[in-house]
Amino acid sequence: MSTQTSGAGIGGLVTGGAGVALRRNALWLICLAIALVMPWLFFDFTTGRHSGFVVSMLSQMGLMIVLAMSFNMLMGQAGLLSFGHAVFFGFGGYCTAHALNAIKAETMWLPVELVPLVGGAGGLVFALVLGYPATKQRATAFAMITLAIGELVTACALMFKLFFGGEGGVSTDRMIDTSLFGFSYSQSIQVYYLVVAWTVIAVALMWLQTQTPLGRMANACRDNFERAQFVGYDPRRVRYWQFALSGFFAGIGGALYALVYEIVTFDTLAAPMSGNALLMAYIGGAGGFFGPVLGAILVVLLQSGVSLLSSAWLVYVGVLFIIMVMFAPGGMIGLIGAHKPIARIGRLRALMVPYARMLVPALLALLGFVLLVEFATFMTIGAAQGKKFKLFAGELDPATALPWLIAGGALVLGGLWLRREARAFRVVWDGLMAEAKARGAAA
């Protein structure tokens, strides 16, 4: 994108050079600022401590951001759907745990701050080895191979106790006294800032990678591998190197995991973790660059927040995922980005009422759905535990038919009403898009 520097004077100072760099990256800098400040918003001034829950959740967001972004190097950038990506995350974690233990036992020395590089190296090597067979194929065959690899590695992790520690995993200790800055990392807030630093580094490096010949050709092979061949590139090699690098970054994520939780078990490389990476990247939006960050934050929020209230949080994530696959394949970022033309012509406000009109039936349908899910979960799990179903202040008995009918009715009613409002919304949307196109804003 060419930058337009305006002419003379103060305008020139502001729009040139540093000013431009600042503006273009404003969004990122704001996010970074929020990340740095967030724990302090939940600081308990009476006890002088940060909220453990919040810091823990934020740290997890950092890890998951790195995992999801590394996954998107494959899915979004290279068009490769991998069902076994977590093996590199987990392997990096295991390598890091062993490294930390070695440092503690003084058989090697490395500053704590540089330990994630060990995870990255582990992930890279693992990906170089496993990537060779995997990238021989593409599309569906590739997906199946990665699925099989994921299962094999998980099984091996349980069988080979020397390296993987069996079912108990490998425990470690991050307080190894080799900090470059003199931190002990005894407090979780310190670990959090280390996580933030490495997340920023990893994401920045991944961004830079997209601007390199390999990164661009990965996009090209995703779009049209035959044309890529006829500009001289072997799509297989492009896939291979992209795969190796994605393993490197996943390994860094795993290293951060080891540092935060101080234990690495086989579920860091198992299928649910791979599925998690997929969900986060896709829900956030695979097409652009920033999407998986959003997706990771959202999924961790859902996991931390909703799982407190309901044991069925995975159902909600799954339904959200399916809805996005069907109606918003560009993810959340895609949804937001679709508004750009309308924002450019300054007509966003025209959408406010249509959105509000959809919001009410959507909430109603959502309430109905949530109630149904919660009733069902309660009937199988909760009731056996002798609990009562509490909704706000009152108690409900899901063993009777009435609550089910009400919830089902809310879902159906909300759904039908939503469909009507959605159609009306569509009309308004199409009109605004046509207007934007006519005024040259849609590209």
């Binding site: 035959e226 061949q229 006829f230 799509p235 190197w241």
Partner: protein, 250 residues
């Protein structure tokens, strides 16, 4: 550069029991502008696919720049100096026009699979891409995702990518298909200027394009080469007239 760009000797191709190419011998010298015409289903695109490595030969030999190409993967053939366009426009739809052009230049400029170059900083590369876009008349749309271009513009872009990488042998598969008169004229001018000094092999149905551009025309009917000559002699060739118009008109 070798004297013979592409040679076909005894080329046969069968799909199962059906023989689509039935013994074709053809030699195309460097620098020639060569058109391949023939009725639908004659096997013209199959020939292209054989020369560019998409299909394996059933028998015979094809050489590109004096190297036998049977069994070579497509990118290897490309690195020998051959590039092609496709019947269905083949570009990188989700990347911008500029990125498309730039990708076409990367390999020939030695960037390989590097992660150590930030493409935004590569002045010579970017300038070359801009110049090519200028020639194609696409510079004003450089930031548009290529998939959103009009059909004719996409075709122009594809021609640009095909030729821009510096290939010596260019295969164009129906480059003006689906274009209007003015678009066709523009495309022909573009092809003429960009293939100056290179070997051009073209499949075409539009006779005005063929007779305007080509030095030599080959006629393929039912998988066989029935004539290969200068355009004016082809026009007068009885066998060709029969193949196209039936025995009545001949």
């Amino acid at each position: 550069m070798s004297a013979v760009a592409v040679s076909l000797k005894g080329v046969r191709k069968s799909f199962g029991p059906i023989e689509v190419i039935r013994g074709v011998d053809l030699e195309i010298p460097s620098g020639q502008r060569h058109a391949i015409i023939g009725p639908n289903g004659a096997g013209k695109t199959t020939l292209f696919n054989l020369i560019s490595g998409r299909f394996r030969l059933s028998s015979g030999v094809i050489t590109v720049c004096d190297t036998a190409i049977d069994g070579l993967p497509a990118h290897r053939i490309n690195r020998l100096g051959l590039s092609r366009s496709f019947q269905v426009t083949s570009i990188f739809p989700r990347m911008t026009v500029f990125e498309n052009m730039r990708c076409g230049l990367l390999w020939s400029r030695g960037y390989g699979y590097s992660v150590w170059h930030l493409l935004g900083r590569e002045k010579a590369l970017n300038d070359a891409a801009e110049r090519l876009l200028e020639r194609l008349g696409l510079r004003d749309r450089r930031d548009v995702p290529a998939g959103l271009l009009s059909y004719a513009d996409q075709r122009a872009l594809e021609i640009g990518i095909t030729i821009g990488g510096g290939a010596e042998v260019i295969l164009l598969d129906e480059p003006t298909a689906g274009m209007s008169h003015s678009e066709t004229d523009r495309a022909v001018e573009l092809i003429r200027s960009m293939t100056e000094g290179k070997t051009l092999i073209m499949v075409e149905h539009d006779m005005s394009v063929v007779f305007g551009l080509a030095d030599v025309v080959s006629v393929v009917v039912y998988g066989e080469l029935i004539a290969s000559d200068r355009p004016d002699r082809i026009r007068a060739n009885k066998a060709v007239q029969e193949a196209y118009l039936g025995t009545e008109a001949a």
